[in-house]
């Protein structure tokens, strides 16, 4: 096959197979120093050609970039003659710079590959999210509406039905309600359609009130903010609160949970506090479901430039404070070589 090549260096084969500790030695410091010396003392292209091959096998061997630069620095210090004129010295240092640039070229290739892969990943993520949104919409608007109509019809039937059949109908209505709850629960897990329809504040209120109704935990919601934040902030905060509430319900053994939204200058602040067993730090140190939940909260908030603070002393409940910037900040973008 004609797809990939290996540098013609003796050690590269080993580099591909061996474990990381072994491959670090693939480009030996001696190889690099010798090639640099050769480059400084003789013709240009042979030296540069071997610099490129050294860099290539260093990439293959997972040798760190900084490590390679430090190796270059040491090799140059050793190779630079002391008994030459300043002019000659400048020339040699310039040639050594060219040598280094050449050996870093394979890193540039790998780096561009990383940028491309990253862009592809972001694209895939957006596609998946869009798909989840579409299915959630279908469940919510399609199946949800049919179920609603069914419930109305059952209510009507209730009025016309003989009394001895009422218990059966009550059971049917109970099951239909369960179906409705499950449908909404799954649809919301896929994508909170309610966010688009109602905005973050009403959506959170609905989420908290639903939990309050369905569980034995008393859930309350306080909102001191009026302006709707950007869509991605709404999405991140909603998902993070969802996770935090799930944790509180499943693990905290709490009696009360309170979700509180406020604005602190340019930050949206959202606190989810419970009066449960606390000690989340110890819990999340172990790879439990709780730990996973906290990780996903952190990741969601980080994605929109926000922060997460957790106060959870043992026996004193847990408070998770989410902060998200209301003002959009642009991260500087690296442009490449041009």
């Amino acid at each position: 096959m004609h797809a990939e090549l290996n540098p013609v260096m003796k050690s590269s084969r080993r580099a591909e197979r061996g474990p990381a500790t072994d491959v670090a030695a693939t480009v030996t410091d001696g190889d690099y120093a010798a090639a640099l010396r050769l480059n400084l003392s003789s013709g240009r292209e042979p030296g540069l050609g071997s610099a490129y091959l050294l860099g290539r096998s260093a990439v293959n061997a997972h040798r760190g970039l900084i490590d390679l630069v430090l190796l270059h620095h040491a090799a140059l210090a050793a190779a630079l003659p002391t008994d030459v004129s300043d002019e000659e010295r400048r020339k040699l240092i310039g040639a050594a710079g060219d040598f280094l640039a050449e050996s870093l070229s394979p890193y540039e290739m790998a780096y561009r590959g990383f940028l491309e892969a990253n862009a592809a990943l972001v694209g895939v993520n957006a596609t998946l999210e869009g798909e989840a949104r579409r299915v959630a919409r279908l469940l919510h608007d399609g199946a949800g509406q049919i179920l609603f109509a069914l419930q109305l019809a059952l209510t009507e039937l209730d009025r016309a039905l003989p009394a001895h059949l009422a218990p059966i109908l009550a059971e049917i209505r109970g099951l239909t309600q369960q179906l409705d709850d499950q449908l909404h629960c799954h649809s919301r897990e896929l994508y909170p359609v309610v966010l688009e329809d109602l905005g973050l504040f009403s959506a959170l209120r609905q989420l908290v009130e639903g939990l309050d109704r369905r569980s034995r935990v008393v859930c309350s919601f306080e909102c001191g903010v009026s302006d709707r934040p950007r869509a991605e902030i709404e999405f991140a905060v909603y998902r993070a609160v969802q996770e935090a509430l799930t944790n509180a319900m499943k693990h905290a053994r709490a009696h009360h949970v309170c979700v509180r939204l406020s604005r602190e200058r340019d930050w949206l602040q959202c606190s989810v506090a419970d009066d449960g067993i606390g000690g989340v730090a110890e819990l999340s140190a172990r790879p439990t479901r709780t730990g996973l939940g906290l990780t996903s909260i952190r990741e969601r908030m980080k994605l929109v430039g926000g922060t997460v603070e957790i106060r959870s002393a043992k026996g004193q409940g847990t408070e998770i404070v989410l902060r998200a910037p209301l003002v959009e900040t642009r991260t500087p973008q690296f442009r490449g070589t041009r």
Partner: protein
């Protein structure tokens, strides 16, 4: 052929004569250095930045190494690429070796033996502005890549 056209052709030939197409027959590692040197010289003459000159030499190395490794023998040609708004360098690497069964796969990461590190043909594709691969089983392989001095609109790589 109308006279104006032939005069145009002649004048263009004169203007790029000092860095016209150069050929290097590739059989061994020493030949790779010749091809790199020719590419670097043309890139320098065209006014490419030092960083871009390194990238052109790297692309040539990758292509020439493929020839030595898989086809044993081939040719690398470097020439000036023309565009109404800019100039560039085109590298054509061709061989009549065993060829690639599935050229579409060969330019994807993970297919190569570098295990998705982005080297090899996928790496060359990212270093240059244009990439074209023609190959088939027992039909040899020709890779044509171009780097523009300033990438014309719409020719820039996506991403």
């Amino acid at each position: 052929m109308p006279p104006t056209h032939s005069r145009l052709r002649r004048s263009r030939r004169t203007s790029t004569r000092h860095h016209a197409s150069r050929l290097a027959v590739i059989r061994t590692d020493v030949d790779i250095l010749t091809a790199r040197e020719q590419g670097r010289a043309l890139a320098t003459a065209l006014g490419f930045s030092p960083a871009d000159r390194v990238l052109v030499a790297t692309a040539i190395s990758e292509l020439a190494n493929n020839i030595v490794r898989y086809a044993k023998r081939g040719v690398i040609a470097v020439r000036v690429a023309q565009h109404p708004r800019t100039k560039g360098i085109t590298v054509v690497a061709s061989d009549d070796g065993p060829g690639i069964e599935n050229p579409g796969l060969a330019v994807r990461d993970g297919y190569s033996t570098s295990g998705g590190l982005g080297l090899g043909l996928p790496g060359v594709r990212r270093l240059m502005d244009e990439f074209h691969l023609e190959s088939g089983l027992d039909a040899g392989t020709t890779v044509t890549v171009t780097k523009w001095l300033t990438p014309p609109d719409g020719l820039e790589r996506a991403g």
